[in-house]
């Protein structure tokens, strides 16, 4: 086993190409589910391994409450017991736990505060707020799921585009997209290498809702126009990047995708095309990394289990 225990900490790197490819070539629904699943598995394995490194690395330190058997020479022969790594794992693990706890707490707080703000309004599904700042979002939970939209945003859209906007937000609520978003956010906190997956999932979830909205209103172009107009009105602060190097942001990519043909609901492209080959390669890499993560975790669990005097 040896250094293999450290692999789950860096193997999430192999998920980068799959995030990129899935985002571009899979149906957004498939991509969202796949990437969230991969991120969840990898984050769990990485955290478990971090915990195991910490346990093995610190078990021999004096005053440690862990069983002495865990620092037994046989265990040390089987797993890395490098004190430096073990000690470094303590703050790392603490940071992961604190970051995840904070993310969960903030998630709850934003939802609670948003529902409280709407408490005085009639309990309709759509809450229209008189505000000159254009925004719209789906607010899950509370007594019922709600769609929040401001008059400023509705004013700039035509009736068909408004229907597209509502269909988009309802799709978010119906498919429980906030759970996917929370899962990848927690994963990104657990292992920073998983951050590209979070970005990818927040894009594919929007695309998923766009496609559902296009089906609901029966026109891809209407949804594209609604997004485009809303984005131009909501402009806000431009994202700080180097103008020359900036790739098109998520909004133009969504509009471009909607102006093109609908994505096919096939699970995977054929292995005989270049895209298919790359996708399959990336998928295999991700699967192997997830498996070796799990393998390391399970092996270490059994070694420690055997070493624990019961």
């Amino acid at each position: 086993m040896g250094v293999f225990v450290f692999l789950p900490l860096v193997l999430p790197l192999t998920a980068w190409p799959i995030a990129r490819l899935a985002e571009q070539h899979l149906h957004p629904r498939t991509a969202t589910r796949l990437l969230t699943g991969v991120a969840g598995v990898m984050a769990t394995c990485s955290t478990v391994c971090l915990g195991l490194v910490m346990v093995v690395g610190t078990a021999q330190l004096p005053g440690n409450p862990l069983p002495d058997g865990w620092s037994d020479p046989e265990v040390r022969a089987a797993v890395p017991y490098d004190e430096v790594a073990g000690k470094a794992a303590i703050p790392a693990l603490c940071a992961v736990l604190v970051a995840c706890g904070r993310t969960l707490w903030r998630h709850g707080r934003v939802r609670r505060r948003a529902h409280r703000a709407l408490a005085g309004l009639p309990g309709t599904e759509v809450a229209v707020l008189p505000d000159e700042v254009p925004y719209a979002y789906a607010l899950p939970g509370g007594r019922r799921n709600r769609v929040v939209v401001t008059t400023a945003l509705l004013d700039c859209l035509e009736p068909a585009e408004r229907r597209a906007l509502f269909a988009h937000e309802r799709a978010h609520l119906a498919a429980r997209h906030h759970r996917f978003l929370l899962a990848v956010q927690l994963a990104a906190r657990a292992n920073p290498f998983l951050r590209p997956l979070r970005t990818a999932v927040s894009y594919t979830a929007e695309r998923w809702a766009d496609e559902e909205a296009a089906q609901a209103v029966g026109s891809r172009r209407t949804v594209a126009r609604a997004i485009g107009k809303a984005a131009l009105v909501a402009r806000g602060t431009p994202v700080a990047t180097l103008a020359g190097l900036a790739a098109p942001g998520p909004v133009p990519r969504r509009v471009t995708a909607l102006l093109g043909p609908a994505p096919l609901v096939r699970s995977w492209p054929s292995v005989f095309t270049a895209v298919g080959l790359a996708a399959w390669g990336a998928a295999a890499g991700a699967a192997v990394s997830a498996m070796s993560s799990a393998n390391s975790a399970v092996t270490m669990f059994f070694i420690l289990y055997a070493a624990t005097p019961l």
Binding site: R106, H107, R109, V110, R111, R113, A114, R116, A117, L118, G120, L121, A127, V128, L129, P130, D131, Y135, A136, Y137, L139, T150, L153, H168, E169, H172, H177, H178, L181, L182, S202, A205, E206, A209, R221, A224, R225, I227, G228, A230, A231, L232, A234, R235, G236, T237, P238, V239, T241, A243, A246, A247, P248, G249, P250, V251, P252, V255, T256, L259
Partner: protein, 129 residues
């Protein structure tokens, strides 16, 4: 008796209710009955203001929420505006709200605006064909 107390004239209940309501509407957010009393001038008793507010509450024209030991009052028609203000306050305070609330659109990059206008223009001309 009214002349004896030097009142200019007896005001109808509807008139008082309208005055209290308009005072509430001028307020910037929920206010106390004392604030309404000050706003309307000294010749209305505090209990009268409370009576009128309670009557308006029964009619659904105002809402109240507990603020410490007393109530703060808001005109009901302004509930949407109040909700909008509260929501803005929350959105401004939460820096990573994007992660929780799936927003319809996100910020545009430096080149995105031009690109988007091109795409929309293209879509419009195709739509007219």
């Amino acid at each position: 008796m009214a002349e004896h107390r030097q009142r200019p004239r007896r005001r109808g209940q509807g008139e008082l209710e309208a005055q209290v309501l308009s005072a509430l509407r001028e307020a910037d957010g929920p206010v106390t009955a004392g604030w309404v009393q000050d706003r309307l001038g000294g010749d209305l008793a505090y209990t009268t203001v409370i009576t009128i507010l309670t009557r308006l509450l029964a009619k659904g024209a105002v809402t109240r929420e507990r603020a410490g030991r007393s109530f703060s009052w808001t005109p009901a028609s302004d509930q949407a505006g109040l909700a909008a203000r509260k929501m803005r306050k929350m959105l401004d305070a939460e820096s990573d709200r994007e992660a929780v609330l799936a927003s319809f659109v996100t910020g545009l990059g430096p080149d995105d605006e031009r690109l988007l206008r091109e795409l929309l223009g293209q879509s419009r001309s195709e739509g007219e064909d």
